[in-house]
Symmetry: C2
Subunit: 192 residues, 2 copies
């Protein structure tokens, strides 16, 4: 998606070691018009998968997931990383390694909002190693839901996440695929 | 706002001790159409305050803030509770007591995205004791920004937050004001 790529080139920063800073328009400051455009594009790409719910992980998945959900007319559930007091004691919980924090984080969903028979579309900000998305897939599967698609705003193809997720057999759509971040460069390329 | 009140009565739950569970449409599962309607209403109420940026706190402020920002055509900044590695070492940081966790949490904003001269509209999910919003106000003031308005989806008038914030002299708008949660009731009333 050209608009997102141009914004990454203009306001993104390669901090080295594969870390892309997009705090100016996605992860700390958010450009709602850009998110809305990305949501519209995800909605277009996933309009025929028959999703009944969008699943994401707090925190930075929330903005793109809600934008997509608005265009598809679907509810969003975001996995929590800490169990709030409003959540029942019995939950779906899995662990996923945090790419940027170097620790394992919990992904927690209340069974109230993830039920058997749902058709889940996962939307997140990044597809890198794929481990967070794989954690969301485990939660959906544990609930007896079926996965129908995976979308990410930005994919770092050199981290191998797509290879990890491909066996799931669902469409994987990224709006901007970065094939190299050597030096201080940000190089876009094909997503496959 | 009648649509929000009806939804609270239908899907909200009074868990006792002043805790209102709205996990089914705001805080864990999100109804994007309802958020969009709330955002449109905030945009209508704050259209003349001259805001240049919307400020909120992760996590559950993000959805209403982005919905409002889309209708006002403004960027959103959400205060982080943990400093990500993409953030510079010098930050704006304040502490605020977490109502539901019983501990102090950090609210952190990068100076890159909160600058002197901005006109800040704060949007959050709840106005209860007002301490989180007061923390956001401190951050805005420290940055040299001016506050132009405060909006909350749901206000619990019996927790006194409005009295705390009134001396700031800006419009305070809540879309649903709960005046009593005695027993298992949820009673709406006037916001002042």
């Amino acid at each position: 998606m050209e608009e997102l790529k141009q914004r990454i080139l203009k306001d993104g920063r390669n901090l080295g070691r594969g870390i892309l800073k997009v705090d100016g328009f996605i992860n700390h400051q958010v450009d709602p018009a850009l998110m809305d455009a990305c949501g519209r594009e995800f909605a277009r790409r996933f309009k025929d998968v028959g999703a009944t719910k969008i699943l994401t992980a707090e925190i930075s998945g929330i903005a793109p997931a809600i934008a997509t959900a608005l265009h598809l007319g679907l509810p969003v559930v975001y996995a929590r990383k800490n169990k709030p007091i409003t959540m029942p004691d019995q939950v779906f919980l899995t662990l996923a390694p945090s790419h940027t924090k170097g620790v394992m984080v919990e992904l927690i969903i209340s069974p109230e909002y993830l039920q058997s028979g749902e058709r889940i579309l996962i939307i997140d900000d990044f597809l890198a190693s794929g481990s967070t998305i794989q954690g969301l897939v485990r939660l959906a599967q544990t609930a007896g839901s079926s996965l129908v698609g995976i979308g990410a705003l930005i994919e770092k193809t050199f981290e191998g996440g797509r290879d990890l997720l491909r066996p799931l057999g669902v469409p994987i759509e990224s709006l901007a695929c970065i094939t190299s971040m050597d030096g201080d460069q940000i190089i876009f390329g094909g997503c496959d």
